[in-house]
Amino acid sequence: MDIPAFGQFETALRLRAQRNELLASNIANADTPNYKARDIDFASALSTARGGSLDMQTTSDLHRKAWNTPGGGFETMYRIPQQSSLDGNTVETDVEQAQFAENALQYRAALSFLDGSIRTMRYALKGGD
C-alpha cells in the first residue's frame, strides 16, 4: 500500500536534513577567505521532489532510483550578502544562524507530523487500543 501522507513528510525531512548540512558548511566556513555561502530554495526544491523529477531516467525497473542522491534534484544558490567583506567571504554568521535555527525547527515540525501519522496508523492497526 502506498502511504502518501508518509511520502510528503519524508521528502520534507530529507530536504531539511540536506539544507541543515548546507547551512552547517556555511557557518563552518565563516572565516574562510573567498568562501561563498550557499542555500536552497526550499519551496521549489520540495515541489521538484514531489513532482518526481528528482528521479533519474531509467530504462529498466531494476535500475537504481535517485531518491537518496546527495544534493540531487535541487539547485544550490549563492547567497547575496548584505555587506560584502574584503576577503571575498559572503557568509553572514547571524543570517546563517537564523536560517539554521529556522531549519532545525522546521525539521522538528516535519518530524512531529510524521510521528503523528505513525501514531494514527498504529492506533488504527491496534483497533483503537
Binding site: A17, A24, I27, P70, T76, A104, R108, I118
Partner: protein
C-alpha cells in the same frame, strides 16, 4: 543520512579555529620579544583556511587548514644603544605582532568555535529525535 555529515563539517571547523587560537596564543606570548638580529625576531603567524568540497556530491564541506604563514609586516626598529642585544648601530628589532589585532582574532576564533559547538548540539538533538520516531 546527511545529518551525520554536519559532525564532520563542524568538527573540521572547530579544529581550524582551535589552531587559530593556538597561533594567536603564541603570537601574544611573543608580543614583547626584541632581538639584535632581525632574522632571529619572532614574526606574527597566521593560519590559512580553505574550504573543501565533499568528494561524492560536490557540496561544500568543512574547513581545511592550508598552513601557517609568517607575517611580512616590517619589524619595529628601536634605537637602544644600552640594550644588551643591540647591534653595532645601537638598534634592536621588535617583533611585528600587533596585540590589538591578535586580541580581536582570539575573540573571533572563540565565537566561531562556539557557533560550531551549538551547531553540533542542535544536530545531535535532531538526530536523537529522529531515532525515537514512532515510539
Amino acid at each position: 543520512m546527511s545529518l551525520f555529515k554536519v559532525f564532520d563539517t563542524a568538527g573540521s571547523a572547530m579544529n581550524a579555529q582551535s589552531v587559530r587560537m593556538n597561533v594567536t596564543a603564541s603570537n601574544l606570548a611573543n608580543a614583547g620579544q626584541v632581538s639584535g638580529d632581525p632574522n632571529q625576531v619572532y614574526r606574527a603567524r597566521q593560519p590559512v583556511f580553505t574550504s573543501f568540497n565533499d568528494t561524492l556530491s560536490g557540496q561544500p564541506g568543512g574547513v581545511r587548514l592550508d598552513g601557517v604563514v609568517e607575517s611580512q609586516a616590517p619589524l619595529q626598529v628601536l634605537y637602544q644603544p644600552d640594550h644588551p642585544e643591540a647591534d653595532a648601530d645601537g638598534n634592536v628589532y621588535a617583533t611585528n605582532v600587533n596585540t590589538v589585532e591578535e586580541m580581536v582574532n582570539m575573540i573571533s576564533a572563540s565565537r566561531s568555535y562556539k557557533n560550531n559547538v551549538e551547531m553540533i548540539n542542535t544536530t545531535k538533538d535532531l538526530l536523537l529525535q529522529t531515532l525515537s520516531l514512532g515510539r
